[in-house]
Symmetry: C2
Subunit: 206 residues, 2 copies
DNA sequence: GGTACAACTGACGCGCCGGTCAGTTGAACG
DNA sequence: CGTTCAACTGACCGGCGCGTCAGTTGTACC
């Protein structure tokens, strides 16, 4: 038997705990989540958490990594959907803002990870670095085709991620939302007309 | 006597504690600072802290507010130095990146405040809102003169703050620094060519 | 020197949290 | 029904951090 009954149960429990952890992190923030919180949210005893994870940090670490997997795939698809750099940006922005809207819990996790302080995390988390690396690759590809200015791709990628994140955050805290498309267009134009190659002068509007 | 001897001593102590708190926050991050840390850094006993502040939160709150005062003044001056919107942005970017470089302790504090999670802080801190309000006012003034696109000033201000912050952060974590001017120019062009009014097509370079 | 008082100290109380482990539950099997 | 065993539980331990307060120190005034 490839997967025993016990292994199936283990998978199920692990997933339930991670999902609980995600919900709790989204409510209380990474630093303020206790193991008891996670256990309560999952409807199990605290000790049970330790049957499936080594420590609190282990739970949170794995929760983040796995939550980011879907996100990475999503962004990867968005990038490959776009042709020009402008289209790529539009797809990425749309994908991110939409996903943030749908998965508010994940967005909070994303914010927690993007938070620079806390020493351990300080942008060092693998998932976050992977995310940035995706954007850097996108920018480099565009740079090779002469579609973007000759600036460090890391700078551009960071700037892109920053703007998307903070616009997403602003959307979350607003009561009456702007249409998603309006913000997608805003960010796309903001980015593209900010880093468009100097040669191509008359860019389209909206 | 306007200010008694006791009041002078009190002012002095309060300031010493706040400065100590700022240094410790910059090392350990907002959430992980203990009152004992602050007391040790200030060279006093923990109990003494409570003679001048009501609680740990009170120390950190006041530390933030007062640290931001200088910052607000600095940014205000930068804005008033600039003529065109482009110049204003250049001045603000330069002022911020330079200040972040000089006052790394403050920059960490700034990052801690910009962090969205943690409920209490979540962009609600007065100092941070004032900071954004400064930028919004700058954008609105430029919009009135037709220098920027017709997008919500809040969006533009947030985007500006985001880019500056994250570029500053990237500068901090890099070992071999780019010249400050290079990053100032990068952010300025990034912003301006991204939100320049559609009419003025041929913008200058660098 | 003696007194009074403000400033300061740091050990202590208390509650919280991560992690453990002896005990309980319940399912599977004979 | 009895046995076995893995899964699960939650009381408990050690440590930590906030805030307190009885006690100490230093200073000003008599």
């Amino acid at each position: 038997m490839a997967t025993t009954k016990g292994e199936i149960v283990e998978q199920f429990r692990c997933q339930a705990i991670r999902e609980a952890a995600m919900r709790v992190v989204s409510r209380k923030g990474y630093d303020h989540v206790t193991v008891q919180d996670i256990a309560d949210e999952a409807g199990i005893a605290k000790g049970t958490v330790y049957l499936y994870f080594r420590s609190r940090e282990d739970v949170l670490e794995k929760t983040m990594s796995i939550s980011f997997e879907d996100f990475h795939i999503l962004i990867g698809e968005a990038i490959s959907r776009g042709g020009t750099f402008r289209e790529c940006v539009e797809e990425v922005v749309k994908a991110q803002l939409d996903y943030f809207e749908q998965q508010q819990e994940f967005f909070r996790l994303y914010l927690a990870m993007a938070e620079p302080l806390g020493e351990r995390r300080l942008r060092k988390h693998t998932s976050y670095r992977t995310h940035i690396a995706q954007l850097v690759a996108m920018v480099e590809a565009a740079a090779a085709k002469g579609e973007v200015r000759d600036d460090p791709p890391e700078r551009i990628a960071i700037a892109l991620a920053s703007v998307i994140r903070d616009v997403g955050l602003q959307r979350m805290t607003e009561k009456n939302k702007r249409p998603l498309d309006a913000d997608v267009a805003f960010v796309r134009d903001f980015i593209c007309r900010g880093i468009a190659a100097p040669l191509t002068t008359p860019e389209e509007n909206v």
